[in-house]
């Protein structure tokens, strides 16, 4: 949060640095009594490099500015692939924009948070503090290249997001000079409370009484017990076969959810056969065919795909933002060079509306991934 003034000159910096080192001597004098030789003073340069947080009162906010129009440009290049062109996408993350109204901007409370039927809670519906948006975009976005945006770009992207949410007009230029005014337009700015019992100190005021004290009743505590909710039958195997997710020895086994359930009324004896049959060692199921050379390629390709964040948009077997690796493999068998070129150049229009940006990996790495894709994109 602590930032040195903009006018901070190299000379002043050296002087201040020396002063701080002098202070450090003083500080260490206290500490060195107890732990001599452990730790040293951080230099102003080091603190400036890491102290990037921005507080709700905008302490820590660097100078700069960016327009809605500039923000749109950056958004479409760097943000839209995950968040959608209008911040509405739910394909990778929860939607950022939507659900706020001009009325909310006036009242400071998002009315739809009162509507249990409203399907989603977007970031703009929830966030009360403008600093939070600026700080997080600055420290963590874009997702696969965090901390790569300049301060001006962060202002611009923040402005564009707020424009999508009808908080700021098309012509707006957001800057360190007007963040306070924009804070006063945040749709859910009055939507927070710290009046609860789940903070362990008194920093937010006196602790509230816990709101869900349970009961210590021991006898005849309820009159009637009804099952009010259970998993529907179609979800029986949704989490995979539970027989493979429990230990194979002990008082119970996992239920074989790859099979329909034995009638609930069936007595326990019938279930035992299933359980005993499943005692077959799982280790035996782990063997997969394939030569050692293939295994190495698959491993290397997947490691590269992970390292280069390909897996953020492509699943091995399922679509995320882009097609699955399996789908690509099916469409382009044997076409190593084509795929390697496409990986590096990016593309648009072949698989859907969201373009794939160009990727900055080496030709050799692109070829390793391409070779894996062109030979079927086998799982390891």
């Amino acid at each position: 949060m602590f930032r040195f003034p903009e006018l901070f000159s190299a000379r002043l910096g050296r002087t201040l640095g020396l002063l701080l080192l002098a202070c450090a001597g003083g500080g260490l004098a206290d500490a060195s009594d107890k732990y001599p030789g452990v730790g040293r003073a951080a230099t102003p340069k080091e603190v400036a490099a890491w102290d990037i947080d921005v507080r709700p009162d905008f302490k820590g906010l660097p100078a700069g500015s960016g327009s809605v129009a500039e923000g749109q440009h950056i958004w479409e290049a760097k943000c839209a692939s995950c968040h959608g062109v209008f911040g509405e996408s739910n394909q990778v993350f929860s939607p950022l924009v939507g659900g706020t109204t001009e009325q909310d901007v006036r009242t400071g409370r998002v009315a739809r948070l009162n509507d249990p039927a409203y399907p989603s809670r977007t970031t703009l519906m929830k966030v009360a503090t403008l600093s939070t948006l600026w700080d997080y975009i600055n420290r963590a976005m874009p997702w696969n290249q965090p901390k790569s945006l300049s301060a001006n770009e962060v202002y611009a992207v923040t402005a564009y997001m707020l424009n999508l949410g009808n908080v700021l007009p098309d012509s707006f230029i957001l800057s360190d000079q007007n963040m306070v005014e924009v804070q006063a337009r945040m749709p859910n700015r009055l939507g927070m409370t710290a009046a609860h019992a789940l903070w362990p100190g008194s920093e937010f005021g006196p602790a509230a009484k816990p709101d869900t004290p349970g009961s210590n009743c021991l006898r005849n505590c309820t009159t009637e017990v009804m099952v009010a909710s259970a998993l529907p039958d179609f979800a029986r195997n949704q989490h995979g076969n539970l027989a493979e997710q429990n230990r194979q020895v002990g008082p119970q086994r996992g239920a074989d959810t790859s099979q329909p359930e034995l009638k609930p009324g069936t007595s326990v004896g019938a279930a035992k056969t299933v359980s005993a049959a499943l005692a077959a060692p799982a280790a035996a199921t782990e063997k997969t065919p394939g030569s050692a050379a293939n295994a190495v390629n698959v491993k290397a390709a997947l490691a590269l795909a992970t390292k280069n964040s390909c897996t953020a948009c492509h699943g091995v077997a399922q679509r995320i933002v882009g097609p699955s690796f399996a789908e690509i493999a099916k469409k382009y068998p044997g076409q190593v060079d084509y795929l390697a070129t496409k990986i590096r150049a990016g593309g648009a229009g072949l698989w859907g509306p969201i373009p794939m940006p160009a990727q900055s990996l080496s030709d050799a790495d692109a070829k390793t991934i391409a070779a894996w894709l062109a030979t079927g994109a086998a799982k390891p």
């Binding site: 709700p56 017990v225 529907p232 429990n246 056969t273």
Partner: protein, 457 residues
């Protein structure tokens, strides 16, 4: 027994982003491939070959008068085993391969911003093996070179502490250390179940929970070394070194009493990379998101920080449309792990009902268990050691008569607070708050031995 139990009531929509159509499709797709086919074949082969009679009992006595596992000596009794150090770092038995941390299908779209759940249903005691510790990453995990990792301690303004400082791992590990057992629970643990039953097993319903012995330096030591003004400073920001540089506002009260640790050790070895190697914050009793991994910076300030994970996520929506912000304490909670959802009991007769209890406010004082859906309760045995802000193991004898039963556990902590029922939780907080669900869990044991996750009215 009341057969109403077996009739599911009204099914409610799951909270946002859980059990969506996309998730169901993913699962359906994955279900068509993979190991399942093998097991189905194995099942067919086994039941065919063994002609069932011998398999119908867990410990059968064959007509021949003796168990072949006893009468015919096995290979390992008649041969030479393997030598020392054949595995430089030992692994679990091959027969334990089913114990894995797992993702809940459809919960998240990427693996880098996701969660994997610990297999509570198959674990013993209170300590989580480090390789099965649940994971939550916001921007992927890293294996960071400890010789290049640094921790900075600074202030939000010059007067907040005398000297901003930097420490190497070598230096932090030179300082006096403490080792303490604590649970860590994600604030969203059991969050999928606020509205209705959404997942089948204890792994998915409660598995964002782990417990380890952590070793490190009390954060107060480092703040004092930097000459912190602990009257002026009222909040601490903790910041990670990974892509998201995760930040959270940490309660100063817990730092002052020495509970908050800058930890490098976990269960006798260094932290695992997935758990923040080489340095993480340990904030006992507080939700996992505050236990910042890859810890690179501590800032002392006079105001809270409203970071992304306390101003957009990890806030609890109340029925009146207000969000509770800075909710942190994991309140008193428990879960029966055996028998639990997705398991099949092998036979009638004796069972040891066992489970875990914990509280972010202190020690577990007692655990009561019901086998009739909460009508009547019996006190369970609380096994030593019972430590503050740590998992505790409870056990209770039970003879199952083969009739349907609904098993529940209810913990009470030493502040006198007991776990609420779902009815009580929803009356206070509605069904949309996602976080901090410590309601009483119900498992329905059916006559066929299969155990189901249910909620009772």
């Amino acid at each position: 027994m009341n057969t109403h139990w077996l009739n599911p009531g009204r099914l409610r929509r799951a909270p946002e982003n859980f059990l969506g159509r996309a998730g169901l499709q993913t699962v359906a797709h994955e279900a068509r491939a993979g190991r399942r086919d093998f097991l189905r074949n194995a099942f067919a082969a086994a039941s065919g070959a063994a002609a069932s009679a011998a398999l119908a009992q867990a410990n059968p006595l064959p007509p021949s008068g003796g168990d072949p596992n006893i009468l015919a000596l096995p290979e390992h009794s008649k041969g030479l085993g393997q030598g020392v150090a054949s595995e430089g770092y030992g692994k679990p038995s091959q027969y334990e391969a089913n114990l894995q941390r797992r993702q809940s299908p459809g919960l998240t779209q990427t693996t880098q911003s996701s969660v994997s759940f610990a297999p509570l249903q198959s674990m013993f005691g209170i300590v989580t093996p480090s390789g099965l510790h649940f994971e939550r990453h916001h921007q992927g995990w890293w294996d960071i070179d400890p010789s290049r990792h640094r921790l900075m301690v600074n202030g939000s303004e010059p007067g907040m502490l005398k000297t901003p400082m930097v420490f190497t791992l070598d230096e932090i590990m030179r300082l006096p250390s403490v080792s303490r057992f604590h649970f860590i629970e994600c604030g969203a643990n059991t969050g999928m179940e606020w509205g209705n039953v959404a997942v089948p097993t204890a792994q998915y319903s409660h598995g964002m929970l782990s417990c380890s012995e952590f070793t490190g330096v009390p954060l107060i030591t480092l703040l004092e070394m930097a000459g912190a003004d602990l009257k002026k400073g009222r909040f601490v920001l903790a910041e990670g070194a990974d892509g998201s540089s995760m930040t959270r506002t940490i309660p100063l009260s817990q730092i002052l009493n020495g509970e908050v640790l800058v930890a490098y050790g976990q269960n006798g070895e260094m932290l695992r990379p997935e758990n923040g190697y080489p340095l993480r914050l340990v904030v006992p009793g507080i939700q996992g998101v505050s236990w910042v991994k890859y810890l690179r910076r501590i800032e002392l300030g006079d105001k809270p920080y409203a970071t992304k994970d306390e101003a957009i996520h990890y806030m609890d929506l109340m029925p009146n449309g207000l969000h509770r912000q800075y909710t942190s304490i994991q309140e008193c909670k428990s879960v029966v792990t055996t028998p639990s959802g997705g398991q099949v009991l092998l036979d009638r007769g004796y069972y040891n009902i066992t489970g875990l209890a914990w509280s972010g406010r202190g020690k577990v004082a007692r655990v009561d268990v019901s086998v009739d859906g909460g009508r009547n309760w019996r006190a369970a045995r609380l096994e030593a050691p019972v430590m503050s802000k740590c998992l505790s193991r409870f056990n209770l004898d039970w003879v199952w008569d083969g009739q349907p039963a609904i098993i529940q556990s209810r913990a009470t902590d030493d502040s006198g607070l007991a776990q609420p029922s779902y009815r009580q939780s929803r009356a206070a907080r509605g069904t949309r708050s996602i976080y901090h669900n410590n309601s009483i869990q119900s498992w329905l044991v059916q006559a066929n031995g299969e155990v189901k996750n249910v909620q009772v009215s």
